[in-house]
Symmetry: C2
Subunit: 339 residues, 2 copies
């Protein structure tokens, strides 16, 4: 599917793929949500308060749904996917709590970030609690292979975040380093989510690897789109959800590619805005203009598309089912958000 | 052993129990240290930099040594204790990295805290990395029971830290709440360390439980002594390593007990110093005077002693060996630090 087709199909595909995924995973998801609620419990009041504040904040729960859908691709699933999906969501939320501390974010999912309400300290510690609970849910499922996938993911995600931090505001950050960062900080958890899901569905060998690849490619597409959206996405509307990366000095592909071909004056304009908390709409618009001049937002979106296509291609290893088609639609959906 | 005996034996017992433990675990510890080094590796430069800075900073590695010693109590150990000990040390160091961020500590083990050198952000993320690596080492050992012990511990430790945070500066904190906090934030990891060690040594049922109890009681004694030392320990020397808890508003037993019986004027003096970063030697000396007046440092030390005795009593379930005697000496050593 090309960009223009996607743009045309936007209204139908956007809602429907996600809605279809919600519907397809609804039964398992009831159990996952119950597990999430009960495992966020603690005799220490503030723990469930923070955990629920974040978890109930209206996240799409895309990752656990991917785990659940992956578990049913071959027919019957073992039931372990419920634990896995809840663990994946806890890991994701632990990462969000820590990311917001690291990025000094004020908002998350349209609400004040937990760290603004309860402080950085509690955010760090409750993140640790969720990570511990995630591992415990994995242990209870009793599969060492799946535990290995998740614990590797935990270490790789943290490494990716450290790499991103060390490259913050560094205009010399390369395309390859960027791909390494998003591969670790985002795609790793998508990959783990679909891989452990597939394992709960009895997949092994090539099928397991195919679902890991689907998740990895989908995660790359997802993050590329996120990073394009932070510069206004395809239609270039620079609203209130844009410019965070620029202000935080986060080196994302649109800027990295623009810097690699920018004139001296353009380069200076980008550097003047990058990593300055006070950069406003004027600076953002100027950077967006430079990005547009060199077409690097388009390149970013095209790369997202390519990874979504790779995700769909990975699905070819699986038996042709409605659920497989749905996962292909989800890949398109992840890219369609950019329009 | 009573307080006075301990004081008399101070010079001999202090060095010797720790030295004997180092000697008894030396062979395994070589493997543990190699594993620690290799698992702190990363293609992201700053990760091993921070990890090694902390890990090489001269910690006693008491917890991993306890794991190793516990593994040899019944004779042959499985070898898994090497992974377990390295995992325990990584968990401990992850906790330290996060604690220093939470407590805004400037120093750790006589050097500037990692967060002062690399920042809070990297400290949070490298802590997460170490936690992920700890779980991976546990997974590689392949025992779900031991993984369960460690993942429960991770969640409980974080809960304990949150509880401590929520009670910071709260003069209404009770003795029971304090015991709950130190049971979770400190004793839990000691317990996990000896329990998984014992499991690697083939212990199950009552023997496993006995070693868990030994670790738990030892951890309680250890933290009670730490908290007494922060008010100058038994000899009351208020040097540069004292007063942190007071300044941070950390509610520890000497102060909790003093507040419970203090006069109005005394209470006010404690509250004036508690949780104020600028509290200096004058305020500390005043609080110490109040503590001494009510004998609550002595009570704290006596309670540490009682838990060390309970730790030794737990060892009675085990076959009488030199190693068992050594672990009993270690319990005495943990208390002797206070003199």
């Amino acid at each position: 599917m090309t960009i223009s087709q996607l743009a045309t199909d936007k209204i139908e595909s956007e809602g429907s793929a996600l809605d279809a995924l919600i519907e397809a995973t609804a039964e398992d998801m009831t159990a996952v949500n119950a597990m999430i609620l009960s495992r966020a419990e603690s005799h220490v009041e503030i723990v469930p308060e923070i955990a629920r504040y974040l978890i109930d904040a209206g996240g799409k729960r895309l990752r656990p749904m991917l785990t659940l859908a992956s578990a049913h691709l071959l027919g019957d699933a073992s039931g372990k996917q419920v634990n896995y999906a809840a663990a994946v969501e806890f890991m994701h939320n632990a990462t969000l709590l820590h990311d917001d501390v690291v990025d000094e974010s004020d908002m998350r999912r349209g609400k004040p970030a937990a760290r603004k309400v309860w402080g950085n300290q509690a955010s760090v510690l409750v993140g640790d609690f969720l990570l511990g609970q995630a591992f415990l849910m994995m242990v209870e499922a009793g599969e060492l292979d799946a535990l290995e996938v998740l614990s590797k993911a935990a270490a790789v995600i943290a490494e990716g975040e450290v790499l991103q931090l060390s490259k913050a505001g560094d205009p010399g950050t390369t395309d390859a380093e960027y791909m390494q960062i998003i591969g670790a900080k985002t795609a790793m958890l998508f990959e783990a989510a679909t891989e452990v899901g597939a394992m709960a569905g009895g997949a092994s060998g090539k099928l397991r690897e195919a679902m890991a690849e689907y998740g990895r490619e989908l995660g790359l597409a997802f993050q590329l789109v996120d990073d394009a959206l932070d510069y206004g996405g395809a239609d270039g509307s620079l609203g209130k959800n844009t410019g965070d990366d620029l202000r935080e000095g986060k080196m994302t592909l649109p800027v990295i590619l623009a810097l690699s071909v920018a004139s001296g004056i353009e380069r200076q304009a980008v550097l003047d805005a990058l990593g300055h908390a006070e950069s406003g709409q004027t600076e953002l618009a100027k950077v967006r203009e430079i990005i547009d001049r060199h077409g690097t937002l388009k390149t970013t979106i095209e790369r997202a598309e390519a990874h979504a296509e790779a995700a769909k291609a990975a699905l070819a290893a699986l038996p042709p089912t409605e659920l497989r088609d749905l996962l292909a639609d989800v890949a398109d959906f992840c890219v369609s958000r950019v329009y």
